[in-house]
Amino acid sequence: MPPPAVDIQGVAHRYGEHQALRDVTLQVGPEALYGLLGPNGSGKTTLFRILSTLLPPTGGQAEIFGMDVTQHPDAVRDRIGVVFQEPALDETLTVRENLQFQGALYGLHGAALHTRIDALLHHLHVADRADDAVEDLSGGLRRRADLARGLLHRPDLLLLDEPTAGLDPAARRTFWNAVRRLRDAEGTTLLLATHLMDEAERCDRVGILSDGALVANGRPEALKADLGEETIWVATESPRLLRDHIEAQFGVATRIVGATLQVAPADPPAFLPALYDAVGDRIQSATLRRPTLEDVFMVHAGVAPGDDREHALARTAEPSD
């Protein structure tokens, strides 16, 4: 059996006093799209630096296709492509010049490189701007040109660190369509770091990082299903008081999730009026819905009301970041 694309065993990292990663263990199978979801400062970027061979971890070990990232960095670099938070393009050069430069770094040249550049730019819909300087391109085009840079040498694993940061919704959709076309064409394994839940929803599997620890890991549907089906979500100023009250009066299962209270009666739609009758004055709003990945994050990260991680994840990106 071939080794997994990514195999992380008990990786820890500490910058001076700050513990950025704590005992992270996870595997990513080949040809999967794995999403690492977490707010800023949760350790995603540190983990990416370790996997891209730029930072040796202070504990544990990480392997890419069975090769240790600190012992065989060059062998690992051959197999991975990395798309950073900022496009790694020279703005004064044209897209094509940037890709030719990138090709030289991987020992590619001549007709093979030309064909590859043309094919990628065509796939990513950048072909008609190939000879424009990068500084003249829109944010979305730059990101797609940078994606072409990361994919130029046909890596088996592509690391994407918040690749759509700063893009508007339309540009993000175009970016993801391009990623999907390339996955279909080349079967690349993707590891995505994001703090956007709708991006995490696209993934085959999701790992949730909170404060440097991997607190959940599984298929998005499975993680959400663990929190139950359709339930009532109550926004209130005093979730603990309300929980005690509801449990005493109705004997219904409840759970505090961040600043909201999840109430799981047998028949939620029928229960809603009764709930309002009993404690309506303490309810700011009550919604009937299925759990989201944000709820999963809140439950597993143990986020308490008023915690600054409470709104750390975004449902979607703001129109202009």
């Binding site: 990292h13 500490r14 910058y15 001076g16 630096r49 891209s52 061979t53 730029l54 930072l55 040796p56 202070t58 060059d74 062998a75 670099r77 051959d78 991975i80 990395v82 950073f84 938070q85 900022e86 496009p87 790694a88 393009l89 020279d90 004064t92 050069l93 010049e97 030719q100 430069f101 990138q102 030289a104 770094l105 991987y106 020992g107 040249h109 840079r149």
Partner: protein, 259 residues
């Protein structure tokens, strides 16, 4: 072979960037030209050349101005490293399976060629100062230009690699780039200076570059105000370049993100 390809690509990139940025081309030439004209014409009547020296202050200052063009063009060709190291472009190079030493050699080679071409453009003013170096003399000038360019792009690389902001880079440069030039025998002959200054001039590697340029520009006619013979000037400049390259290579091979 692979490493050479990387060096070639990085060198070509430096040159393309420089040529596309017209303000950099003009700025790197106009400033030293203005300084040369102002000082040369300003001191024309008062400057006493050391015994045996031909020409006025303009001719005396000429090798020093070449050195100034070299120092500034070479060092400031590396300023983009500060931003590219933090923003992503250079991280893209570091995650590629290519030796980091190639990053140093490609970048410094590009900066060196730019600085040398800029300095050589200045040779167009030679007839104005009545200097005739001859082909061998021009060869000497080219050799000193290449070695000095290499030394200062490597030094700039080593400093830029440590900096988080271009402001910090400018601050460090201003701290010692101009003093290095002032104390190189470029503006005044070392023999006539106060003894304490003379010590600084002798200890300053740039002095040997300026002396080497003097030898070349005067066609090895044993010009005044030189610290040592042509061979020693070449050797000191080459040694300095080697030292700076070693410093840059040592730095770039350390882990990229410090724990």
């Amino acid at each position: 072979m692979h490493a050479l390809r990387t060096v070639g690509a990085l060198t070509a990139r430096e040159i393309l960037k420089f040529v596309r940025d017209r303000s950099r081309v003009i700025g790197a030439l106009a400033q030293p030209l203005a300084l040369w004209l102002l000082l040369g014409l300003g001191f024309q009547g008062t400057f006493q050349p050391p015994q045996g020296a031909a020409g006025g202050y303009g001719a005396f200052l000429f090798p020093g101005i070449l050195a100034l063009v070299l120092l500034f063009t070479a060092i400031f060709s590396t300023i983009s490293i500060v931003e590219e190291r933090t923003s992503g472009f250079l991280q893209g190079v570091l995650v590629a399976p290519t030796p980091r030493t190639a990053l140093v050699f490609g970048t410094t080679l590009g900066g060196t060629l730019i600085a040398t071409v800029q300095a050589l453009l200045f040779l167009g003013a030679l007839p104005l100062v009545n200097l005739s170096p001859g082909w061998l003399g021009v060869g000497m000038v080219v050799a000193i230009c290449l070695l000095t360019g290499l030394a200062f792009t490597a030094l700039g690389f080593a400093i830029a690699w440590q900096m988080d902001t271009t402001r910090g880079f400018h601050a460090i440069m201003n701290l010692f780039l101009l003093p290095l030039w002032f104390l190189s025998g470029a503006m005044f002959p070392a023999e006539g200076a106060a003894p304490i200054l003379r010590v600084f001039v002798w200890a300053n590697p740039v002095s040997y570059a300026v002396s080497g340029l003097r030898h070349g520009l005067h066609g090895f006619a044993d010009p005044a105000a030189t610290l040592a013979g042509p061979a020693v000037c070449l050797a000191v400049t080459a040694g300095f370049a080697g030292l700076m390259l070693a410093l840059a290579v040592w730095e770039v091979r350390r882990p990229f993100f410090r724990p």
